[in-house]
Symmetry: D2
């Protein structure tokens, strides 16, 4: 699978099939999935917690750390997709709408290089 040709719906279906095959949708309510998402984000941070920003950059060029981080970002995405599946959220539209708000909050000409 490749990002260039894989749509969000492709990934949503991929995750949904896995969930359905195990009859796990009973556990996939909004509350539980928000927790699962947060826990996986914590596992991603766990890779970087004691290192400087520069060390973390270097670590991401090592195969082992890179694979760990890739697995964790996959887990984050899987639960975000599962949350969208269960709650019928159009992710592309959600990002589009949120970015409109972000552009208003952070106009490019006023927030260049800082917050």
């Amino acid at each position: 699978m490749d990002d260039k040709i894989t749509t969000i719906t492709d990934l949503k279906n991929f995750v949904e099939d896995f969930v359905q095959e195990r009859h796990w949708s009973q556990f996939h309510n909004a509350k539980n999935l928000s927790m699962a998402l947060s826990i996986e984000a914590g596992e991603l941070m766990d890779i970087f917690k004691w290192n400087t920003n520069e060390e973390c950059e270097r670590m991401m060029s090592e195969i082992k750390t890179r694979q760990e981080a890739t697995d964790e970002i996959a887990d984050v995405m899987i639960y975000a997709l599962a949350f969208a599946n269960r709650n019928d959220i159009n992710i592309a539209d959600a990002i589009d709408q949120k970015m409109i708000k972000n552009r208003e909050k952070y106009p490019a000409d006023k927030f260049k290089g800082h917050f």
Copy 2:
């Protein structure tokens, strides 16, 4: 934008343009982005923390809560995409590979309806 026709690369480019316009890639190292991702996941949980699973389901059918949750899941996705952009991760492939591990860890015939 719609999940049916939007590819991951479309979304990656959408996020990358926003970051580039503000010269923010200097802040987008692996450590910082993992924190930003976790913080947004926390904000999603904040909507549900004091409610039962059932109440959370009902809340997701109310426009206001639904919009809040949709904005938060968008933020989670935006930082996951930014993490993938900065670290050159193919998300669709990462999910594909992680799902292979998940299927081995949780065979459908042994984990039906439970963990």
Copy 3:
């Protein structure tokens, strides 16, 4: 050690000795410790994520789950104490001051049984 006679300073010193013996204070800056704290909170949540509130209550009366949760809450406390040590924060005073704000925000007569 017992909560009835153990002061916050006792616990702060207990944690500080452990850190000093390993020369780990170099890693204990505010940013890193906030991440460590969040990661441990995620591990506590991990125990409960797929269960209903009622199931979680029952689980906490089982020795195994109870021990896991006790270890995780200890980890959370250890990093909160380490954060206070490194940044010279008086925890009892911080709680006292925060509770004044909480009482103003949530007057008891207006928030009885709800938020």
Copy 4:
């Protein structure tokens, strides 16, 4: 209130009184409190996410950031104490026991200055 003379039981009672006055113990099950704890840890991280370790150190010497961080660490402690109250956990003992495990896992002579 001062860390030198304030016991954990003092703080537990302080938090418990606040909860009882609002009849909020009904919301304080293990699952919900683990979420609340994680959310507050996320708010603490939010102060530091885009800054380097060194900048975060400097920020903690500014009154405004220092007060924000102090309030967030207080919130983390309040929910950890509430979790211990609801689940009858002796925090000092929990830390003592966890530190025994930590000393075995990280002997001081083998982990001096690194992990």
